[in-house]
């Protein structure tokens, strides 16, 4: 009997010892400290990365060590889970052991139990919950989701349609960023007119002097000198007294205007002397025709022919017959009349007949090596090159304005390539374009023309340009004055342009968008089960759709358009437990720190401190 009794006593003693340990604050403190340290490690060491990344970052040896002790995914490791279980056990045991049926103990009980609840809830979620995501294209549906982080497909048991996806945007806001290079200092300042913003620690400053919400650069021609270096005319074209067109013609730049509606082309040329003047004024009609060079490789045959639709040529020394089928000044507009095309991408279509049949192809003057895939190429040794003179025009009526240094100025009218009349012209006088109702008038003449750039408020005319109607947000510009060792400089700066440097190249200002542009994104979701629509809801961030335990959160969107919506899919069966824990923790902790002290004073009024505090409470609450 006694033999049997001894081990029993021992066992009880042993039990009570583990029990003591499990109840102890010492264990609690140890667990808490270890958890804190692991948390630090979990943010200092990269988590959940590939083995290669670890090896690259920490070296092979250390990477292996980390993997072995699960430092690469601390928060999902076995030892961390064990720590949490131990924490739960410790909390449970100490709560059971220390519980006394007193009002003042409520806080202690509630907080400790709440933490156990939270942890239990988390475990339930981890074991039976769902954490995943899915993207749904607008107008499409899914009946699955992908789990995270391994992207496995799982069925939902019903269909979710994304009927619509919307992004709401804020009107953009802008800020200035001032940057001082040698100090590597950066300062962002609001782009408000009138404020001087100095960059502290440097002697640079920037002041916004003016602001245009929607600005554009206007280029206004001005006269720079009386020596005809870059002559320009401002001409006006009118029909029955109404101005139909007006604008600048620059002798050395854009020197022609073509009015396809009236089959008219006006050009402006400058002659250096009277002789050349004569020639230019008269030769206008014979505008050089485009020409086609045909080269037969290996045979040393080169032939040049004018491009005229329908013409056929035979090539001496070969069996080829070449026919020009079509000519377009602008390939992309080849179906509209030639006179309405501009010489953007001239091309000629040629048919080559030879011993192996017919080979037809487009030859582009700007891309001679390009092969049009739609047409077969049989005769690879036949190379075509079409060239179109700069001033080629197909217009029936032509007006040519010629000027020269000695002051002579003429206006020629040419019809069907024949010069009908040549007259001298004067400023501000109207000249009839013969046998039409058009009149032409030269309003201004600048011998040497330059451009003055100024930044002005944009007025109309851009709706639907590069964006849908109503979406135009403006292109803001600020007039900034930069101050520094070289004095003040003021200049207009447009948003979204490269940084603007101060003359010493050490100080720059950037004008750019500030903050988040996206105000909200929403998806209209529809849940369909067995062919029936069960729920429809517009979800957005902070407002999710719940169905059959699944919760669909708006979490992302297609960054390159608005084609799909990104949803987070979760199922948290333990959520109620966790939230109960949260609420209890709040109540408990408020009780301990804010209610208990007052309650105690009320309960134990008139008693000595030693009588109503236990020794431990005095320790815990620093009472002396």
């Amino acid at each position: 009997m006694s033999k049997a009794a001894i081990p029993q006593v021992k066992k009880v003693k042993n039990n009570s010892k583990t029990w003591e340990i499990l109840c102890s604050v010492r264990l609690a403190v140890i667990i808490i400290v270890i958890m804190a340290v692991s948390c630090v490690l979990g943010t200092v060491i990269l988590q959940q990365k590939s083995p290669e990344e670890y090896a690259a970052r920490y070296g092979a040896g250390l990477a292996k060590f980390f993997a072995a002790i699960q430092f690469t995914d601390i928060f999902h490791s076995y030892w961390f889970s064990f720590l949490l279980v131990l924490l739960c056990v410790n909390l449970g045991c100490c709560t059971v052991k220390r519980w006394r049926n007193k009002v003042l103990m409520i806080g202690f009980l509630v907080t400790h139990i709440s933490i156990i609840l939270i942890l239990i809830g988390c475990v339930v979620d981890l074991l039976t919950g769902v954490k995943g995501g899915v993207n749904i294209y607008e107008g499409k549906s899914v009946d699955y989701y992908l789990t995270r982080p391994d992207y496995k497909k799982n069925p939902l048991g019903f269909q979710v349609f994304c009927d619509d996806f919307l992004i709401e945007k804020h009107p953009p806001k802008y800020k200035l960023i001032a940057y001082v290079k040698d100090k590597d200092k950066q300062k962002a300042v609001p782009a408000k007119v009138g404020k001087r913003n100095s960059v502290s620690g440097t002697n640079y400053a920037v002041t916004v002097k003016d602001f245009i919400e929607d600005a554009e650069i206007q280029q206004e021609p001005i006269n720079v000198s009386d020596v005809p270096n870059n002559p320009a005319l401002y001409i006006q074209l009118s029909e029955k007294g109404n101005v139909t067109a007006e604008g600048w013609l620059l002798a050395k730049d854009r020197n022609w205007y073509s009015d396809t509606q009236r089959d008219l082309k006006i050009d402006y040329v400058w002659a250096d002397n009277a002789e050349k003047h004569e020639k230019l004024a008269n030769a206008a009609g014979k505008s050089t025709k485009p020409k086609l060079d045909i080269t037969i490789e290996g045979k040393n045959i080169v032939k040049s022919v004018p491009v005229e639709k329908g013409k056929k040529f035979s090539i001496d020394g070969t069996d080829f017959i070449i026919e020009i089928k079509n000519f377009a000044l602008d390939y992309s507009k080849r179906l509209v009349p030639l006179s309405e095309q501009e010489p953007n991408n001239p091309a000629v279509m040629v048919e080559i007949s030879g011993p192996q049949g017919k080979d037809s192809r487009w030859s582009f003057s700007k891309y001679p090596d390009y092969q049009d895939k739609a047409h077969q190429v049989i005769y690879k040794d036949v190379k075509l090159l079409c060239s179109v003179p700069e001033n080629f025009s197909d217009a029936k009526h032509r007006v040519r304005i010629v000027q020269n240094k000695s002051g002579k100025k003429t206006i020629s009218y040419i019809k069907n390539e024949e010069v009908i009349s040549i007259n001298d012209w004067e400023l501000n006088k109207s000249y009839n374009v013969a046998d039409s109702e058009l009149e032409i008038r030269v309003i201004k003449y600048f011998p040497s023309h330059g451009l003055k750039k100024s930044v002005v408020k944009r007025v109309g005319g851009h709706e639907g340009h590069n964006h849908g109607p109503g979406e135009h947000a403006g292109n803001p510009a600020v007039l900034i004055e930069m101050e520094g060792p070289r004095g003040k400089v003021a200049e207009w700066v447009f948003a979204h342009t490269p940084p603007h440097w101060y003359p010493d190249n050490n100080f720059a200002v950037l004008y750019e968008k500030s903050g988040m542009e996206i105000k909200d994104y929403k998806s209209i979701l529809r849940v369909v089960e067995n062919g029936k629509t069960m729920v429809t809801k517009t979800i957005e961030v902070n407002n999710a759709l719940k169905y059959k335990g699944f919760v669909f959160y708006q979490s992302s969107y297609d960054p390159e358009g608005e084609r799909y919506t990104g949803l987070q899919v979760t199922k948290n069966p333990g959520l109620l437990v966790v939230y109960t824990g949260f609420i209890m923790l709040c109540i408990g902790i408020v009780f301990i720190f804010y209610v208990k002290p007052f309650l105690r004073r009320k309960l134990k009024k008139g008693k000595k401190i030693e009588e109503y505090y236990s020794e431990e409470e005095m320790l815990a609450e620093h009472i002396e």
């Binding site: 102890s24 604050v25 010492r26 609690a28 403190v29 808490i32 400290v33 958890m35 804190a36 948390c39 979990g42 943010t43 200092v44 060491i45 990269l46 988590q47 928060f75 988390c122 954490k131 804020h170 806001k173 800020k175 300062k187 962002a188 300042v189 609001p190 404020k195 502290s200 500030s514 903050g515 988040m516 542009e517 996206i518 105000k519 909200d520 957005e540 961030v541 902070n542 407002n543 999710a544 959160y553 708006q554 987070q568 899919v569 979760t570 959520l575 966790v578 939230y579 949260f582 923790l585 709040c586 902790i589 408020v590 301990i592 720190f593 320790l619 815990a620 609450e621 620093h622 002396e624």
Partner: protein, 294 residues
């Protein structure tokens, strides 16, 4: 705004000086001067917060600039309340609490300084921040941080006192003139009170943050660096709260225990500050949703 911010900074700097003078001089009138200077700084700070609120059309605590200004405001608020309580409720007049005031003012001035460096342009809130939880969550955290900063200052003062008086302690006990001395020593008690005010708010902040994350992202806890570090701060203060229960059962000397606790507070508050504004230094922060955009 910039001018107001600078003015506030200067007033707070003046408050540092005022509190130090008050400590050295110990005249009753000086105490009110110091209190007045800090209060006027606080009023300026309040104006800053309110103008920002009306300009930005959202609660002014969403980016770095706004949080710095708001944090400064809440530190000043908590300290002023604390001082009023000591004067009118606890009725302690001749304590050395002013030194805490000076330290708190240093922290406030530092925050305003940081705000001056930060990008002060008004930014639109990203969708996730457009939630009422933001306000609750952030206010809880800033109140908590402010109270905890006081525990930090108190711990510093306590340790310095212990260090200065380490030789004289016995003498003081013998002479029994230690009433004043004892009050000064009770900075560890003060630190405890500050933690007991700040810790519940820290807990509630953690919980509201978690509920908010659930609403916005679908997970109440995602092991995000910001979440982890707020958990770390919480765990450290939890240790501080439980340690006094454990220490008697160890063989650590009784006189050393408050020193140990103060040292923990000394470690804890920098962790809090790191959680607040240092997280972008972490290698794991690249994937985080929480860190203020630079």
């Amino acid at each position: 705004m910039d001018f107001m911010l600078k003015l506030t900074l200067y007033v707070y700097c003046a408050a540092i000086v005022a509190y130090i003078v008050r400590e050295v001089w110990r005249a009753k009138s000086m105490r009110w001067v110091a209190f007045g200077v800090l209060s006027s700084g606080f009023i300026l700070n309040t104006i800053l917060v309110l103008t920002r609120w009306s300009e930005a059309h959202h609660a002014p605590m969403s980016d770095k600039f706004e949080s710095f200004v708001f944090f400064a405001w809440s530190i000043a608020l908590v300290y002023l309340i604390f001082e009023l309580v000591t004067i009118f409720i606890v009725k302690v007049h001749e304590s050395r609490i002013g030194i805490i005031g000076a330290l708190q003012c240093v922290l406030v001035a530092w925050m305003i300084c940081s705000a001056l460096q930060a990008d002060s342009t008004i930014k639109e809130l990203p969708p996730a921040l457009q939630s009422n939880w933001l306000v609750t969550h952030v206010i809880c955290y800033f109140l908590s941080y402010s109270a905890l900063s006081m525990s930090f200052s108190a711990a510093i003062v306590y340790l310095i006192h212990r260090w200065i008086f380490s030789g004289k302690q016995k003498v003081a006990e013998v002479v029994e003139s230690g009433i004043q001395l004892k009050k000064d020593y009770s900075f560890d008690k003060l630190a405890y009170i500050a933690v007991s005010i700040g810790f519940p708010f820290l807990t509630i902040g953690l919980i509201t943050g978690s509920i908010w994350a659930k609403g916005a992202w679908g997970t109440y806890w995602g092991w995000d660096p910001k979440e982890i570090w707020s958990l770390i701060s919480w765990l450290v203060y939890l240790t501080y709260m439980h340690l006094p229960l454990m220490l008697p059962k160890t063989n650590i000397k009784k006189s050393f225990r408050p020193i140990l606790l103060s040292i923990i507070l000394l470690i804890a508050f920098p962790i809090v500050l790191f959680t607040f504004m240092g997280l972008h230094k972490l290698p794991t922060s690249a994937d985080s949703d929480h860190i203020y955009a630079e």
